[in-house]
């Protein structure tokens, strides 16, 4: 009975999605969204694994401070950070630009990604990664780091995607209303009365991370297979 209640609670928000058949469309908002997601996911994977590696291998008395500083955005309300970013980016003329939006999205996603990568590396253990140091860099990354961290990479990708797709205020503020994404469009649609249009955008918001997660997972599995096939 308890399980049934939990199941109903989980499915309840989605029940409205099936009240009418959605029709799909393709416009600049979707293109912007997919590009943003792909860029942010790539940067997150690259920077988080690099930073986690550095944290794992660096011995310094400043270590605790550096960790605290890196994870600081996790403890500060996103909106407070957003206003700070707005002022900073405005000085560089990046407000209202795609690069400005990408930077701010990176700021809100990266601490989580670093945390994930660092935790995964800590569990696998420094000695295991040290064995990889005896191999040339290409082999180290391709044959050891990438397959060992493939699950983490997929999680970072999903988390970054979901965070990016969840940002409305941030993209509106830094994008100065000029950068259109599925999320920003969705809020406008919700403000109106067109249920079918709202449904289309909601489906998009659900499908984009799902498709990307499956695609990235498939890509990673294929990559690991290729790597193992070379051995």
């Amino acid at each position: 009975m308890r399980r049934l209640v939990i199941l109903v609670l989980i499915l309840l928000p989605f029940s409205g999605l099936f009240t009418s058949v959605p029709t799909f469309f393709f416009d600049d908002a979707i293109i912007n969204t997919v590009i943003q997601v792909l860029v942010i996911v790539s940067l997150n994977v690259w920077l988080s694994i690099g930073t986690a590696w550095w944290l794992l291998f660096t011995e310094t008395k400043w270590r605790t401070f550096i960790e605290w500083f890196l994870f600081l955005p996790l403890f500060i309300p996103a909106l407070a950070g957003t206003f700070g970013m707005y002022i900073a980016l405005a000085r560089f003329g990046l407000v209202g630009t795609t690069i400005g939006v990408l930077i701010v999205l990176l700021v809100v996603t990266l601490p989580y990604s670093i945390r994930l990568a660092y935790n995964a590396m800590s569990v696998i253990g420094r000695p295991m990664f040290e064995q990889a140091l005896f191999m040339p860099p290409l082999r180290r990354y391709r044959d050891v780091l990438f397959p060992l961290l493939s699950g983490t990479i997929q999680t970072i990708a999903l988390m970054s995607t979901v965070i990016v797709l969840g940002q409305f205020v941030l993209i509106q503020l830094i994008g100065a209303g000029l950068i259109s994404t599925v999320t920003t469009r969705l809020y406008q649609v919700y403000a109106g009365n067109d249920v079918a249009l709202a449904l289309q955008h909601t489906w998009l918001l659900i499908l984009i991370p799902a498709v990307l997660y499956i695609a990235i997972g498939w890509g990673i599995r294929l990559g690991v297979k290729i790597v193992k096939g070379r051995l």
Partner: protein
């Protein structure tokens, strides 16, 4: 020719781990670095491997500095206490990964050499502790190193397996004429495996010598017997022919036997019996027999 460490100093946050260490490992020799926990032996090994940098001092191989040379360019491999095989690869793939030309034949050759023939396609988690360590050893050898570093690789093994792996390691590195630096806290193990032994105490070199030299000069250096003119650590007590007749000369007080025990089980399962009904004294000889 070989590895030369000069005036190596290393300080971690609040304490000096190594203070002016000088060490020379001749090419082709098996050199043991013996010290208690915290004496700095593993740190020294990590400095040689390129996993740590010394605060001062030099590390050279054939008079060419290794400082600043990344670990993968030093032609050095390292075996740790645990196998550290990559879990996403099979046993054989772990070894292939280390071979310079990614050769499956080479990997299978090394696996056979460490008595793991036919285990190429096995998953890493199916290996026992000793097998894992042997696979790890095969991987280290497959990289064609000029120096192999052994960081207490036998510590977590049961006595029989430990002895077997010690022998295997000794045989293979001798056969390959591979320079080997073994770090251990077990003095007996050092005596069994190494050509020369260095004692490290509180981050400084205490003494260096052959097992025979150390057994005669170092009061703390283990329990040894002289059997037919040769000096052996206790674990090497052997019965070389059937029946009684061999005599052992006690070189040091037999701590393990004391006067309480008269028999000792050798790693190969044989029993060696020393007389327990007499007070054992250094310099005296006693008959040795099989159980």
């Amino acid at each position: 020719m070989g590895l030369q460490l000069t005036n190596i100093q290393k300080r971690f946050t609040k304490r000096d781990v190594l203070t002016g260490v000088d060490l020379f490992v001749k090419q082709g020799e098996i050199h043991a670095l013996v010290g208690t926990s915290g004496s700095g032996k593993s740190t020294l090994l990590r400095i040689i491997a390129g996993l740590e940098s010394p605060d001062t001092g030099t590390v050279t191989w054939d008079e060419r500095s290794l400082l600043g040379v990344p670990a993968h360019e030093r032609k050095i491999t390292m075996l740790s206490q645990t196998p550290l095989l990559f879990p996403h690869l099979t046993v054989g793939e772990n070894v292939v990964l280390a071979t310079p030309d990614r050769s499956r034949e080479q990997a299978e050759k090394w696996l056979t050499r460490v008595r793991l023939a036919g285990r190429y396609d096995d998953e890493v988690h199916t290996l026992s502790g000793g097998e894992g360590q042997r696979a790890s050893f095969a991987r280290a050898l497959a990289a064609d190193p000029r120096l192999i570093l052994l960081d207490e690789p036998f510590t977590n093994l049961d006595p029989d397996l430990k002895y077997e792996l010690q022998q295997l390691t000794r045989d293979i590195v001798s056969e390959l004429d591979l320079t080997t630096l073994l770090v251990t806290h077990d003095r007996e193990e050092a005596m069994l495996v190494a050509d020369r032994v260095t004692l490290l105490e509180n981050g400084t070199i205490h003494t260096t010598g052959t097992p025979r030299e150390l057994s005669e000069t170092e009061p703390t250096f283990g329990d040894f017997i002289r059997l037919e003119g040769e000096l052996y650590p206790l674990t090497r007590i052997g019965v070389f022919s059937e029946g009684a007749g061999e005599r052992v000369e006690l070189v040091r007080h037999l701590v393990k036997f004391g006067v309480r025990l008269g028999e000792y089980r050798r790693p190969n399962g044989e029993y060696v019996i020393l007389p327990s009904d007499v007070s054992q004294q250094i310099g005296q000889s006693y008959p040795l027999r099989k159980k």
